[in-house]
């Protein structure tokens, strides 16, 4: 039994632990945000960063559902898109100065995205959240198709194939930002990303946030502690839709245009991949996934036309071999380094890494050679002055040997681990 001096405060994490786990990461994040402008980033770099900011908020919103709520949605871009579309309309109302809108600052457009995304999710969720699991996933897919095709029918709302465009440089200025130059947009993005991250983290600490996890793990027991799981799911869905709408609002201001593609299954799938690859069991996972995949999608498409293939490959590998995602790998590595046998761990990890790199090398050559071969234009894969023709035996050696060697290493390590008792 416990002694009488103990009280409930002792059970909570210590102030030091709280600072390390909660306050410190956010401080580091803010420091990075403040440091980036000092490096005088190029326009390309800024464009990339802005897209990352949008995706970070969107992926975190999505993970409220998938990671914390256990609800797999195939159509979350609907709320991103509807939030963004509404912001485009508001942007135009601001320009016209109609009614009260003339005095609404563009800077706060994401608030409108938040409201619109949340309202849309509240309405759609009122029936889709009655069921969990596969049924919920199927409904989300159906709704996404429905909204996407509906967008082409209501031209005045969605602008048909051209979409709706606007001009963000209207309305009153706030914080001295005219919202014209990219540097202004940078601060706009920074502000809303931090607001989004902090708010969504805070949400996980609220009673509803906790109940959301409880409902994910055991909806039946939730009923017997006085809560209605359907209601919990609906509320979480609505809030998640609202934050997706916030990201949509950020996107509206950034690109000054929204087209129906933004509502389609493609961004819905992309946000799923971002969250999953990043690691849905960690709050920071989707942030990592969003940064990595945004980078990949904009940079790798310059290097290789097969980048979607690499993306798919990465997704499959993560699902199969690292279900806790990048965050799981990063935090696992960190824990291992601080663990008792850190030397042994480091050795293992390095060998593992070597195995992975070998396989990756073989795979890259395989993909690049094949794609040029199948294009049939006689193009040859020539990295760093080397020459990999599809008809050269050397090429196939460079493909097969590393893959086999890498696989052997990984297999050997796997076996060894099984034989070790703990």
């Amino acid at each position: 039994m416990s002694d009488a001096t103990q009280n409930h405060a002792d059970l909570a994490p210590s102030t030091g632990a709280k600072f390390r786990q909660r306050t410190l990461p956010i401080l580091i994040f803010v420091a990075i945000i403040l440091a980036i402008p000092m490096t005088d980033p190029s326009r390309t770099m800024l464009t990339l960063i802005h897209q990352m900011a949008i995706n970070i908020v969107f992926a975190l919103a999505y993970n409220m559902l998938l990671g914390k709520g256990g609800m797999l949605s195939f159509g979350h871009a609907v709320y991103f898109g509807l939030g963004g579309y509404f912001c485009m309309h508001v942007m135009n109302w601001i320009e016209e100065g109609s009614g009260i809108w003339g005095s609404y600052p563009t800077f706060f457009l994401p608030v409108m995205g938040f409201v619109a995304g949340g309202l849309a999710a509240a309405v759609i969720g009122s029936f889709s959240c009655r069921r969990a699991g596969t049924t919920f996933a199927m409904i989300s897919l159906g709704v996404a198709e429905l909204v996407f095709s509906g967008a082409f029918m209501f031209d005045s709302l969605f602008g048909g194939e051209q979409g709706i465009n606007g001009d963000r440089m209207n309305g009153p200025e706030v914080f001295g930002l005219s919202m014209g130059p990219m540097q202004d947009i940078y601060w706009f993005m920074a502000f809303w990303t931090v607001v989004g991250i902090v708010a969504m983290y805070a949400f996980t600490r609220t009673p509803l946030g906790r109940l959301s996890e409880a409902t994910r793990d055991n909806p039946q027991r939730v009923q017997f502690i006085g809560y209605n799981p359907t209601r919990v799911r609906w509320l979480v869905f609505t809030i998640s839709g609202a934050f997706a709408g916030l990201a949509g609002g950020m996107s509206a201001v950034n690109y000054e245009i929204f087209t129906p593609e933004a509502l389609s299954l493609i961004p819905s799938g992309f946000v799923l991949i971002m969250a999953y690859v990043g690691g849905i069991t960690y709050f920071a996972g989707p942030i990592m996934g969003a940064i990595l995949l945004t980078y990949m999608s904009s940079m790798m498409s310059d290097f290789t036309e097969a980048w979607l293939l690499y993306l798919g490959l990465m997704f499959v590998i993560i699902v199969m071999y690292a279900p806790r995602g990048i965050a799981g790998i990063v935090f696992g590595f960190w824990d291992g380094l601080r663990g008792a046998q850190s030397g042994e761990f480091l050795k293992r990890t390095l060998i593992q890494l070597a195995g992975c790199l070998l396989m990756l090398l073989g795979l890259i050559v395989l993909v690049e050679v094949s794609i040029r071969w199948s294009n049939g234009w006689g193009e040859v894969f020539e990295p760093y002055g080397m020459h990999f023709g599809h008809d050269s035996i050397l090429t196939w050696i460079v493909i097969v040997v590393p893959i086999v060697a890498g696989a052997a290493i990984l297999r050997y390590l796997g076996r060894e681990k099984e034989e070790m008792p703990a």
């Binding site: 059970l11 009673p207 017997f224």
Partner: protein
């Protein structure tokens, strides 16, 4: 005359052609400790599922403190002051022990579905959580993930979640099943303490526990209650001996 804590009237439940609960009538007074015994598959857990709202009766009614509750969803029945545990531990495996109990406390302390304040902001919630942990001797394991608890502690947590909301009618489904002697003794003490001033309905196979704890015992066989009386009378009831206790030794006789 106040209404009984629980009142079952002509309660029946069928799954397809199989009639599992058959015209059960039972009144349980406020403050009573009532045990339900019966062979495997008699329908004891099904009866609990009917009372707690997980199943809707095929016919008949359930009343809680005089209010009709058959057909009311489980979470609303829970809010009316009826709480239950499960035969197979039904906890939030990914949460720590403390978080499990805290979830059980939230609604009764008016936290509702709030998402505008931290769970840790309510002092009442923190204190009540600690009180329940202490009551169930789980303070030392407060920060252990529930999935990693030893079996007996999981059962204690099951009870902790059940009583956390302060319900005054408590249904426990085989709380000591699978426990060792000393573990059972501790569990019985916990149950006795937890049900003080409350109404307790308990399903148990351990006769020692039942004859020790219960004010009244109902014997359920094939979905029918064949006897409902104080322990001393149940012991002597020939119908019960024949139907259920047949070849099982009673505590008195083994002593």
């Amino acid at each position: 005359m106040t209404a009984p804590a629980l009142s079952l009237k002509n309660l029946s439940k069928s799954f397809g052609p199989a009639q599992i609960i058959n015209d059960v009538n039972l009144d349980i007074a406020k403050g009573e400790r009532h045990a339900i015994i019966g062979p495997n598959g008699a329908g004891k857990s099904t009866l609990f599922n009917l009372i707690s709202g997980l199943y809707t009766p095929t016919s008949g009614t359930v009343s809680l403190n005089g209010t009709l509750i058959s057909g009311v969803p489980p979470h609303e029945i829970n809010r009316m002051g009826l709480s239950r545990s499960f035969q197979v531990s039904n906890i939030f495996a990914n949460m720590t022990v403390r978080e499990n109990v805290r979830c059980g406390v939230l609604h009764s302390l008016g936290q509702g579905y709030s998402f505008w304040k931290s769970v840790t902001s309510s002092k009442a919630v923190q204190e009540k959580t600690f009180e329940v942990l202490e009551h169930c001797a789980l303070v030392d394991k407060a920060n252990t993930p529930a999935a990693l608890l030893p079996y007996a502690d999981q059962r204690a947590l099951e009870i902790a979640i059940t009583i956390a909301g302060g319900a005054n009618v408590i249904l426990l489904d085989e709380p000591t099943a699978g426990m060792s002697h000393s573990e059972t003794d501790r569990a019985v003490e916990l149950i006795r303490k937890s049900s003080e001033g409350k109404t307790l309905v308990i399903v148990e196979h351990d006769m020692g526990v039942i004859f020790d704890l219960a004010d009244r015992i109902s014997v359920l066989v094939y979905g029918e209650i064949i006897a409902s009386a104080p322990p001393s009378e149940i012991r002597g009831d020939p119908k019960v001996r024949e139907a259920y206790l047949g070849d099982e030794a009673l505590p008195e006789e083994t002593a």
